[in-house]
């Protein structure tokens, strides 16, 4: 009986040998569907984008131009403005999501009556389709009929109707607010889950030793959920960097480019002006920047995990 079981568990390479396949080829055979799938969905479009970036492709013509697109892009002052704006967009939005998410999670973790209801109530921004949420915000930001402009006037904060999406600066911060509104619930839920995973004895031990609420939060909760904070910061940073739908629905990158981030720039170049080659160049720039960013971040994450005693 046990001999039979041993030979069964050892049978995969044995089968391979019987069929005349080496173990390596058998392994390749097993992962082939996944490799094929990845190649079609990820690798081919990526390689095609890189190839296009060396051409001056438009809808109906294409010729090889070498590094000309890169020369042009890296030599353009406008590009650096867009890169700067993108990083500012990412840093501000992610910081707000983390801070608001942390406050939200702390409130949701508190033992108050009806907290299950509150936990359900924070979900809508994340659950409803972004397009629908954004249409709601378009209405809120509207100067003539919008709630915010109206309330601002009633409270005497605004002299007259204010079109939030009509000015470079206000449009940018309005888009940030909407992006934070969409992104915070998930961050909050992850933080809440991490907080609930902290051993309650730690809090009781600290309480016995005289640590107050804020002290316990600062010296137990924050360090204990730090790996989650770092992971959420990384993921949220990548999503926010590439956040397309919210900006495009609210402002299409305007007014006068005031909300044009790298991803919007790439889209408008490729599909607004049909300069597929130049658009691809911008897309490659995004991949490179995000790649470097992710590498740095993973490095930090590893160090943080080691520091906080997580394997």
């Amino acid at each position: 009986m046990s001999d039979q079981m041993v030979s069964d568990t050892a049978s995969a390479p044995a089968v391979a040998r019987r069929r005349g396949l080496s173990e390596t080829w058998f392994a390749w055979l097993l992962i082939a569907p996944a490799v094929l799938f990845t190649a079609v969905i990820v690798a081919w479009p990526l390689l095609e984008t890189v190839r296009l970036s060396f051409t001056d492709a438009t809808i109906n013509s294409e010729s090889w131009v070498g590094l000309a697109n890169y020369h042009e892009l890296l030599g353009s002052a406008k590009f650096y403005v867009v890169v700067g704006r993108t990083f500012f967009w990412m840093a501000l939005s992610v910081s707000l999501k983390l801070v608001v998410g942390l406050i939200g999670a702390s409130l949701l973790a508190a033992a108050v009556p009806g907290r299950a209801l509150f936990r359900a109530l924070i979900m809508p921004p994340w659950v409803i389709p972004i397009a629908i949420g954004c249409i709601g915000w378009l209405w809120l930001y509207n100067g003539q009929f919008g709630f915010i402009s109206g309330m601002g006037q009633r409270l005497g904060l605004l002299d007259g109707p204010f079109e939030f999406l009509a000015y470079k600066r206000s449009a940018f911060y309005s888009a940030i607010v909407t992006d934070v509104w969409v992104g915070t619930p998930m961050v909050s839920l992850f933080f809440l889950a991490a907080m609930q995973g902290v051993n309650r004895d730690l809090y009781e031990a600290a309480w016995v030793d005289g640590a107050g609420r804020w002290y316990r939060f600062r010296r137990i909760t924050i360090p204990q959920i730090m790996p989650t904070i770092i992971s959420m910061a990384l993921l949220s940073a990548i999503w926010t960097f590439n956040s397309f739908d919210i900006i495009y629905i609210l402002t299409q990158g305007g007014p006068r480019g005031g909300t044009t981030t790298m991803i919007i720039d790439a889209y408008k170049t490729a599909f607004g002006n049909y300069n597929l080659g130049e658009g691809a160049t911008r897309a490659v720039a995004i991949v490179v920047l995000l790649g470097l960013f992710s590498l740095a971040y993973l490095n930090i994450l590893n160090r943080v995990n080691r520091h906080y005693g997580v394997k």
Binding site: D201, E204, A205, A206, V208, D209, G210, A211, Y215, G309
Partner: protein
């Protein structure tokens, strides 16, 4: 380093009464163990003393002060948790220093206090490490170190050894007893392990279903259990309880006939027992020896070297356990006879109350 009194402490969760009128007076520098089966309320009682849970009614008095309404930190207690509750992100040094950091003591004072605790607990070379790099016993010591630096009036321990393996548990028992001697502090220790209770305690509180069954020294509990519950809870293997019928009483004791066994004259105060009453005779396995007396068929034999734990069944169907000499000439399947000294026997009335033994060993305490 202070006496502690509990006055009619009760605790209810909704309709469920967890603790029923607990009265205890614990002396200064005493090592008291709360012992009892799961759910008896021993941990709840400890948490109420600590201030982590609030009593439904009653007072907790530490060193003459009613602390019942005070926050844990103001009660002069410190607590060691079953899970150790060490902060995984802090070094051993910072874990021990935690209560001092809360108090915002100057660095030099923190350093001196941590160094002293580490010295007592032999943790000095572990101070830079994280708890994750320590063994179970070392983590336990760090948790104790965190208690020591607070210099509390009363140390509270909630099943501190239950996460350790058997060998380490034995070592830590000895260490804790030594620590108690060195610190000469009042300590309250919760466990479900009667060996820990017997070996470490000055006095033991046996809790059952939310009330105190008995509060006394280990040997009092062993020789003079107040109730049937205490008698069976203390002692390993458990005391045999053999049903019997009272044949008669006189000043010298009680004559009984064990069901499926011999007649015995037991030197106990007969109290209200009358001829024909049903009682239970308690016989500790270690008091049974090969000899004339109770006949039983051996079912299972556990030879531990020094002793042979012999599990048998009497002709009445009653199970009986005898801890015989390690080399006793018995085998599974044998029918043997074991004798008992009547002076060693306990007698319990129908209500579970004990009839006082007249010839039990005189207790030193």
């Amino acid at each position: 380093m202070a006496p502690l009194q509990l006055q009619t402490v009760t605790k209810s969760f909704g309709a469920a009464q967890v603790l029923i009128g607990i009265d205890l007076a614990i002396h200064d520098k005493e090592f008291v163990v709360f012992v009892g089966p799961s759910g008896c309320g021993k941990s709840t009682l400890l948490r109420i003393i600590a201030g982590l849970d609030e009593a439904t009614s009653g007072q907790i008095i530490i060193d003459g002060t009613d602390v019942s309404r005070l926050a844990p930190v103001d009660r002069g207690i410190s607590m060691v948790f079953q899970s150790y509750a060490l902060y995984p992100h802090l070094s051993v040094y910072e874990n021990i220093a935690f209560p001092l950091r809360v108090q915002r003591l100057p660095e030099a004072e923190v350093k001196a206090k941590v160094a002293r605790a580490a010295d007592i607990l032999q943790l000095t070379d572990k101070l830079p490490l994280k708890p994750g790099q320590l063994s179970g016993g070392q983590r336990q010591r760090v948790a104790i170190g965190r208690s020591i630096v607070r210099n509390p009036k009363v140390f509270l321990f909630d099943e501190p050894l239950s996460n350790l393996d058997a060998a380490l548990r034995g070592d830590m028992r000895v260490e804790l007893s030594g620590l108690h001697r060195d610190l000469s502090a009042t300590m309250i220790y919760v466990t479900h392990d009667q060996v820990e209770a017997m070996t470490m305690a000055h006095r033991i509180v046996v809790l059952n279903a939310g009330h105190v069954e008995q509060f006394g020294t280990p040997m009092e509990l062993y020789h003079h259990p107040a109730t049937r519950f205490v008698a069976t809870f203390i002692g390993q293997p458990n005391m045999n309880l053999v049903p019997a019928t009272v044949l008669g009483t006189d000043a010298g004791g009680l004559a009984v006939e064990l069901d499926g066994g011999p007649r015995l004259v037991l030197p106990v105060e007969p109290g209200a027992a009358r001829s024909g009453d049903r009682v239970e005779v308690g016989i500790r396995p270690e008091h049974a020896t090969l000899g004339d007396g109770i006949a039983m068929k051996v079912r299972v034999l556990e030879r531990l070297g020094g002793v042979a734990i012999t599990y048998g069944i009497m002709s009445s169907g009653q199970r009986f356990c005898a801890a015989l000499h390690g080399d006793a000439a018995v085998a599974e399947g044998d029918t043997i006879s074991v004798g008992v000294n009547p002076a060693d026997c306990h007698v319990f009335g129908a209500s579970g109350a004990v009839l006082r033994r007249l010839k039990a060993p005189v207790l030193a305490a």
